[in-house]
C-alpha cells in the first residue's frame, strides 16, 4: 500500500479507504488473533474478578520529550489497571482524527502504542476510527478502555491504616513539567523528559513478593498532592510527609523556581504512590528497586491520626505546614 500523505474524511467513512487504513496501519501494528477476527465485538474470557477502566487523551502538544499521545494512551490505561492490582489484558482504542492530520504522525503514534503494549503484554482487541472536519478536534484525540484480571484484591483508597508507610516510586512532577516546557510562549527549553511509562512490571514484582499493599495510585493530574489528599480524606487519616524525602529532578526544580510552582502539584504518568504496612516497607522497596521504572522508589512518610483528613508536610528544620489540594487550573490538556 502506498501510504496517503494525510488522513482524509474518507478514511473515516467506512468504505474502502477506512478498510485500508485499519488493515494497513492498525491491524499491522496491533496484530493479534482477536483483533484480526474483525468481528463486531471482541469475545474475551477471564478466570477471576476484572478491573475495567477508561481514559481519553487530549494532551497538547501531541509529541513531547519522553513520549507522545499514543504512548500516553496505553501507559495511562494500563497503569490504572495495574494500580488496582489487575494484570492488564485487553484494551480498546478509539481514534478521533482531524481531517488533514499527517499520516506519518499517525503511524509514529500507533507504533509507539504497539511498543508500549509490550511492557505489560496487554493487547488491543477492538477499536474505532473517526475522522472529523478541520477544527472539530485538535489534531487527534484517543480513548482507551482496558480490562485487567485482578491478581491482588483489596487495594483501595479507603483502607489506609495508622502506621502504613508511604512510598513514591520515583521523582515527581516530570510529566507536567515536560509538557509545560513544550507550551509555546514560555520561551524556555531544556532536556526534561516526561516520565510516561508502564508500571505493571513494578506491581507484578510487589505482588510476587507478597507485599501487603493498603493503597496504590499513579499520580496523574494534580500530582502527588492530589493523591495524598484523596487518601487522607477517603480513609479519614493523616498523612505526615517528610518534605526533604520527596525526590525532585533538578530540571523540574528549576522550572518550579522560574514559575513559582511546586513539583508535587505537577502531573506524573509513570510514577506511583503506595501505602504499605509498616512491616512490609523494606520488602516493598526491595521489590520496586529491582524494576527499571521504579528503581528510585523511596519512603516519604507515614500514616497517623494527628489531623484526620489532612496531609502535613514536615520540613527538615522543624516547621510543618498543610499540603493542600492544588488549586485552580495549573495546566490545561496535560494528559
Amino acid at each position: 500500500m502506498t501510504s496517503p500523505k494525510q488522513i482524509q474524511l474518507s478514511h473515516g467513512g467506512g468504505g474502502e479507504e477506512t478498510n485500508s487504513l485499519i488493515h494497513d496501519l492498525f491491524y499491522h501494528y496491533f496484530s493479534n488473533e482477536t483483533l484480526l477476527a474483525a468481528e463486531d465485538a471482541a469475545v474475551l474470557e477471564v478466570k477471576n474478578k476484572i478491573a475495567f477502566t477508561t481514559d481519553s487523551f487530549t494532551v497538547s502538544p501531541i509529541f513531547f520529550k519522553g513520549g507522545n499521545i499514543g504512548k500516553l494512551a496505553i501507559a495511562g490505561t494500563v497503569n490504572d489497571l495495574a494500580m488496582m492490582g489487575a494484570k492488564p489484558l485487553y484494551l480498546s482504542a478509539s481514534f478521533m482524527i482531524e481531517e488533514g492530520f499527517p499520516f506519518d504522525d499517525l503511524e509514529t503514534i500507533v507504533k509507539a502504542m504497539a511498543e508500549e503494549l509490550e511492557h505489560s503484554g496487554a493487547k488491543i482487541v477492538c477499536g474505532d476510527t473517526k475522522v472529523v472536519p478541520r477544527g472539530a478536534v485538535d489534531k487527534i484525540f484517543i480513548n482507551t478502555s482496558g480490562i485487567g484480571e485482578i491478581e491482588k484484591e483489596g487495594i483501595s483508597a479507603n483502607t489506609l491504616q495508622e502506621g502504613d508507610v508511604i512510598i513514591v516510586s520515583g521523582d515527581v512532577g516530570r510529566h507536567g513539567a515536560a509538557i509545560l516546557m513544550e507550551r509555546e510562549g514560555l520561551g524556555i527549553s531544556g532536556d526534561l523528559k516526561s516520565d510516561c511509562a508502564t508500571l505493571w512490571p513494578a506491581v507484578q514484582a510487589l505482588i510476587d513478593a507478597n507485599v501487603s499493599i493498603s493503597a496504590m495510585r499513579d499520580a496523574t493530574r494534580g500530582g502527588l498532592s492530589a493523591v495524598l489528599n484523596e487518601w487522607a480524606e477517603q480513609s479519614a487519616v493523616c498523612l505526615e510527609i517528610e518534605e526533604s524525602n520527596i525526590p525532585v529532578d533538578d530540571a523540574v526544580q528549576g522550572l518550579c523556581e522560574l514559575f513559582g510552582f511546586e513539583a508535587f502539584d505537577f502531573a506524573n504518568e509513570g510514577t506511583c504512590i503506595l501505602a504499605v504496612t509498616e512491616k512490609d516497607a523494606q520488602m516493598a522497596l526491595a521489590a520496586l528497586h529491582k524494576v527499571e521504572v521504579t528503581k528510585k522508589a523511596t519512603i516519604i512518610g507515614q500514616v497517623s491520626r494527628k489531623k484526620e483528613g489532612r496531609v502535613i508536610l514536615h520540613s527538615a528544620y522543624g516547621s510543618s505546614r498543610y499540603l493542600d489540594l492544588p488549586k485552580g487550573e495549573l495546566l490545561p490538556r496535560i494528559c
Binding site: 510562549g185 520561551g187 526533604s244 523556581e257 528544620y317 522543624g318 505546614r321 498543610y322 493542600d324 485552580g328
Partner: protein, 373 residues
C-alpha cells in the same frame, strides 16, 4: 575559596542545619529584648517565604511579623482594575499584562472572565514579548497594562525604549508602577501599626539601591535590614535586627549583599527616569491617596500613554472593596488574613473577593496556600 555553583545559590540559602542554627541564635538573642519585636516585612515575596518555610514556627513568641503593602496588584483599587477591563473590552484591542493581573477581581468582572467572554487578553512572561505581538497585529491597538514596584518598572521602560527605537505606533502603556518608600511612610503616618523594625524588599533594592531606606531608621526609630528571599536570608536578617535592638543601634544594613548595593542598578534607574516621573496622586487600596507614590509617563511620551489617549473609556469614580473584604486593613499591617471573616470560605484563590487572595504576592494567598497548622 571554592568556586560557586548555581545550586549553592539555592540550596546554600535553604540548608536545614543552618536554618536550625539561626533559629536557635534568634531564640537566644530574643531573650534580651526589652519589648516585643514587630517586624514589618514590606514585600509580599517575603510574606510568602515566611509562610512557605514555616518560619514563624521557629521563632520565639516575642517576635511577630506585620505584613506590608508590597504586593503591586493587591494595592490597586478596584477602579484601576476596571481600567484594565475597559481597555480589554475596546474594539480591535489586545490587552497584555503580567500573569498576576489576570484573575484579580474588579468591581464586576476580571480579565480572566473577559478572556473567556472573547476579549483578546494575554499574560506575558516578559514585557518584551509585547513587541512581537504589536508587530504581528498592525491593525490592532495593543495595550500593555504595566504593574509592579521598582523591580519591574525598568523593564517597562526598556520596552518603551525599544518601541520608540523601532517606530512601533500601535503599542500603548497603562502605567501602574508604584514606589516603596512613600507607601511605608503612609503606613507609618497612620500611626496605628506597632512596627519597630523593617525587613526591606530584596529585589526592589537591587534596582533602586538600599539608599532609598536610609531615612527610615532615623525617621521611625526602627532598624531596616535589606533581606534576600531565601529562608536563611530572612532568618539572618531577623538576627541582625535583634542584635541592633539589643545593642541599641538603629541603622540600615544590607543582609542580601550578594545582590544589593547602596547605589543599586544605576542604568535601570536612569532608564526609568528618562521615560517616567512621579505622579501627583495615586489611590492605594485601603490607604487612600499617597502623593508622588506612583509613576506616569513623561509628557513627551503622551502618545504612548493609554490613560490619556483612552481617557474617555476609563472609569474615574473610586470604588471601594466589598464590605466584608479587609484587604485594605491587612495591607496597612493592622490585621492578618485569618482575621478576615471570609478568609478561605467565601474568598478563595478560585473565587477571590479581593486581590490579596489571588496575587502570588498577596498575604491572604500565602496564608491560604501554606496553611498554618
Amino acid at each position: 575559596m571554592s568556586e560557586l555553583q548555581l545550586k549553592d545559590l539555592y540550596d546554600g540559602f535553604r540548608d536545614p542545619d543552618v536554618i536550625k542554627a539561626l533559629a536557635k541564635a534568634i531564640t537566644d538573642e530574643a531573650k534580651n529584648l526589652k519589648e516585643p519585636l514587630n517586624i514589618m516585612e514590606v514585600c509580599g515575596g517575603h510574606t510568602h517565604t515566611i509562610m512557605k518555610y514555616g518560619l514563624k514556627q521557629l521563632l520565639p513568641q516575642n517576635i511577630d511579623f506585620i505584613h506590608g503593602p508590597g504586593c503591586p496588584v493587591c494595592i490597586m483599587p478596584k477602579e484601576r482594575i476596571d481600567h484594565a477591563i475597559a481597555l480589554a473590552q475596546m474594539e480591535d484591542t489586545i490587552l497584555l499584562t503580567l500573569g498576576d493581573m489576570i484573575r484579580v477581581p474588579g468591581s464586576k468582572s476580571s480579565l480572566a472572565v473577559e478572556r473567556a467572554n472573547g476579549c483578546d487578553i494575554r499574560a506575558l512572561y516578559s514585557p518584551l514579548d509585547a513587541i512581537k505581538i504589536a508587530l504581528e497585529n498592525p491593525d490592532k491597538k495593543v495595550v500593555f497594562f504595566a504593574i509592579g514596584f521598582e523591580t519591574t518598572t525598568p523593564m517597562t521602560a526598556a520596552l518603551l525604549q525599544q518601541v520608540e527605537k523601532q517606530g512601533i505606533t500601535n503599542l500603548y502603556f497603562h502605567i501602574n508602577h508604584v514606589l516603596v518608600p512613600p507607601a511605608v511612610d503612609a503606613i507609618m503616618a497612620g500611626g496605628q501599626a506597632k512596627i519597630n523594625a523593617f525587613i526591606g524588599p530584596a529585589h526592589v533594592s537591587v534596582i533602586s539601591g538600599a539608599k532609598i531606606y536610609q531615612p527610615l531608621p532615623e525617621k521611625y526609630g526602627a532598624p531596616v535590614v535589606v533581606s534576600g528571599f531565601e529562608p536563611i536570608d530572612v532568618l539572618q536578617s531577623i538576627l541582625m535586627i535583634l542584635r541592633q535592638k539589643n545593642e541599641a543601634h538603629c541603622e540600615m544594613e544590607i543582609q542580601y549583599s550578594r545582590s544589593v548595593t547602596l547605589e543599586g542598578n544605576v542604568k535601570a534607574q536612569e532608564i526609568i527616569a528618562k521615560f517616567m516621573e512621579p505622579r501627583e496622586h495615586f489611590r492605594w487600596r485601603g490607604i487612600g491617596d499617597i502623593p508622588y507614590s506612583a509613576l506616569v509617563l513623561r509628557a513627551q511620551y503622551a502618545a504612548y500613554d493609554a490613560e490619556k489617549i483612552f481617557a474617555d473609556m476609563l472609569p474615574t469614580d473610586p470604588i471601594d472593596d466589598h464590605k466584608l473584604c479587609i484587604c485594605g486593613t491587612i495591607l496597612k499591617g493592622l490585621a492578618k488574613p485569618n482575621d478576615c471573616q471570609v478568609f478561605g470560605t467565601a474568598c478563595t484563590p478560585n473565587n477571590p473577593m479581593g486581590s490579596c487572595m489571588v496575587s502570588s504576592e498577596g498575604a491572604c494567598n500565602a496564608y491560604y496556600r501554606y496553611g498554618e497548622i
